[in-house]
């Protein structure tokens, strides 16, 4: 896990959200007494991974598994409850906003919904100029203009449309503008949270190609969050599968798709609808995803798993490395029961 060459290393990251509300809402009547109870959503529980430079790490999982929280926590948009985030061997999770500034320039984010992530009252020009001017206070007007033009050309938006507002663009073009905004400060590392989920198939291909091109030209590193497994298979170098705030499997993409080890990964992969496969033979899981408010004891997946035994109910499985470089958190895999 520990690797000095890594661009980003996350160690034992924990993030819980308190949703219990005000004091009066926390009070409960229990066994004839008033007790105060806190309710927390356990979004991230002990997450560790690292990303190498120029790597694309895909994070997949179903809704509510903590993918987006992870994306935001990595960028410092949510302060973690415990754990460490290291960027190029310097710790960034405990910095003041001012100390964080140089890192902000290196790390950028692309959001899912291009309708919500662009300010409707700002022209494309202002949207793109803002991050650049913020990080390059001494930039001359010509430098700014050149930079905007260069980036717009790179993402395939006509530079003469610079004075237009977001509502004048289609969804695909808006997502290009969001990507352009992220590229304006020449980042090294981009967190993309479901960047193509809101787009149609033919547009999705255009945006994915654009992201791949930018990665090759600029040597970018991506943390790519998505629920679409076929996109991840095509796009990323390694994949982390998340379930209820935990990583249950982390492996090279081809390895993961060819021989998934964790029972949840197996079920997830078998549920992808594939073109032209008439008879689906997907693994049927029991029950539904439990809420992250009351996490099951032991392995978070044990209630739905086909291989549960007594140890799974009792003990939380740790992420262990197999010889193939695959990391899995499963007792059954560890004991060679699967």
């Amino acid at each position: 896990m520990e690797n000095d060459n890594s661009l980003l290393a996350v160690n034992n990251l924990v993030k819980h959200f308190d949703i219990s509300g005000g004091l009066l809402e926390q009070l409960r009547w229990k066994n004839g007494r008033i007790v105060r109870r806190k309710t927390t959503v356990k979004a991230l529980n002990d997450i560790s991974f690292s990303i190498m430079p120029r790597e694309i790490l895909g994070v997949v999982g179903e809704s509510g598994c903590g993918k987006s929280t992870l994306a935001r926590a990595v960028l410092g948009l949510y302060p973690p409850d415990s754990g460490e985030i290291n960027y190029q061997s310097s710790r960034i999770d405990n910095l003041t906003p001012h100390q964080m500034l140089p890192f902000r320039k290196k790390m950028q984010m692309i959001f899912q919904d291009p309708y919500a992530s662009l300010n409707p009252r700002m022209t494309v020009k202002r949207t793109l100029e803002e991050p650049f001017l913020f990080h390059n206070k001494s930039a001359t007007p010509t430098e700014v203009k050149d930079k905007v033009e260069e980036v717009m050309q790179q993402v395939g938006v006509e530079p003469s449309w610079i004075t237009r507002y977001p509502h004048e663009f289609s969804g695909g073009q808006r997502q290009r503008i969001s990507i352009a905004r992220a590229l304006m400060v020449d980042p090294e590392f981009i967190v993309a949270d479901e960047p193509v989920s809101a787009l149609d198939v033919s547009i999705q291909a255009q945006i994915l190609n654009l992201l791949m091109e930018a990665q090759e030209k600029r040597g970018l590193t991506y943390l790519f969050i998505t629920h679409d497994l076929s996109v991840v298979e095509h796009f990323s170098t390694r994949v982390a599968v998340m379930y209820l705030g935990k990583i249950c499997e982390l492996a090279a993409t081809s390895e993961l798709f060819e021989s998934p080890r964790h029972p949840y990964t197996q079920a997830l992969l078998s549920a992808i609808p594939e073109l032209g496969r008439q008879k689906p033979t997907h693994i049927k899981l029991k029950g539904e995803v439990p809420t992250p408010i009351e996490l099951p004891a032991g392995c978070v997946f044990h209630g739905r798993c086909l291989y549960t035994d007594e140890r799974c109910i009792r003990e939380v499985p740790q992420l262990i490395s197999l010889n193939s470089g695959v990391e899995v958190a499963c007792h059954a895999v560890e004991e060679n029961r699967i």
């Binding site: 629920h227 076929s230 298979e233 079920a267 997830l268 609808p273 689906p280």
Partner: protein, 321 residues
């Protein structure tokens, strides 16, 4: 004339201040008893409007300007609203995308189910409850006697969509129109709902129209596919033929644009440009500005939907014939 549903040259317009916009431009299709048809296309292609037109639920300013919709030989689009209400939710049911929006949050599941039954059948409340419980069991809701007294917010997304399916089944409809029924759900839940729909079509002899943008889902569940582009059917045929041997350049482009068939990390095949908006649909073939094989005729003349050697497989393209 043994078709369950027959849509003939359907045309839907939206009356706006500056004139009428044509959303559906001459769509014809048929569906037999127990058959599963998929309608695919990108947003704005007219998939959902077609669904709404069939069930005669277009809200103003939309209206059916030409064509006919026949269910079991009865012409639906000429029926007075009173008679249509006896068919809608009874012979045809519709399932929508977001189960939280479809279910009433302040009524229990039981109230919502019984309401539907009593609107269409002359039964007592106890009988209606029995029917409701029976349908909940059909969609595999565990401990349905308990669930039926709950409110929608107490159920998970997958459970809610099953309840919506159960409500659609209450009156034993001949046709179910499902408009993106699993788009809001996770893949594992999606697989379950799709299995369920397929199973029900077989056991209840229901026709299914599945409207979706997801080619993968459609290819698994349906027997025939209609691919729509800018308010018209570009290609229609048996699912396996359309998926494995697509003829229309748009269908080919859509299938090639999907990641999965290619070497990982390689460039995806993209269709240049985007779907035209209804206000400026290009003359001739609506796809010609994005088409790689378009010819002069494509710019002038609208291609008709004609069958290939195989009667079932039809395409609307001048160049591929």
């Amino acid at each position: 004339m043994s078709h369950l549903l027959e849509v003939k040259d359907l045309e839907v317009k939206f009356a706006l201040r500056f004139g009428d916009l044509t959303a559906i431009n001459g769509v014809s299709l048929t569906l037999d008893k127990g058959e599963r048809l998929g309608i695919v296309g990108e947003s704005g292609a007219g998939k959902s409007v077609t669904g709404f037109a069939i069930i005669n639920l277009l809200s103003k300013p939309g209206y059916i300007s030409a064509g006919r919709v026949l269910l079991e030989g009865q012409e639906l689009n000429r029926l007075p609203e009173e008679d249509m209400r006896k068919i809608r939710g009874n012979r045809i049911s519709m399932i929508f995308q977001d189960p939280m929006m479809t279910l009433n949050p302040v009524l229990t599941i039981k109230t919502q189910m019984i309401e539907t039954i009593l609107a269409h059948a002359n039964v007592s409340k106890t009988e209606a409850t029995d029917i409701a419980l029976d349908k909940l069991k059909k969609v595999h809701i565990p401990s349905s006697e308990k669930r039926i007294h709950q409110y929608p917010h107490e159920c998970s997304g997958g459970m809610r969509q099953r309840i919506v399916v159960a409500i659609a089944l209450l009156t034993n409809p001949a046709l179910i129109i499902a408009d993106e029924p699993t788009t809001a759900l996770d893949v594992t839940i999606q697989a379950e709902i799709m299995d369920l729909l397929q199973e029900l079509c077989a056991s209840e002899k229901m026709g299914l129209i599945l409207i979706t943008h997801d080619l993968g889902v459609v290819s698994q569940v349906t027997e025939r596919i209609a691919v729509m582009y800018a308010g018209k059917i570009a290609e229609i045929g048996p699912t396996q033929v359309v998926i494995h041997d697509p003829q229309h350049p748009y269908t080919q482009g859509l299938i090639k644009a999907l990641p999965g068939s290619l070497q990982p990390g390689s460039r995806l095949n993209q269709i240049p440009g985007m779907m035209p908006t209804l206000t400026d649909i290009p003359p001739g073939c609506a796809f010609h500005p994005r088409c790689t094989i378009s010819d002069t005729i494509c710019r002038m003349e609208v291609p008709a939907l004609i069958s290939r050697h195989d009667h079932d497989h039809m395409i609307a393209c001048h160049v591929v014939k």
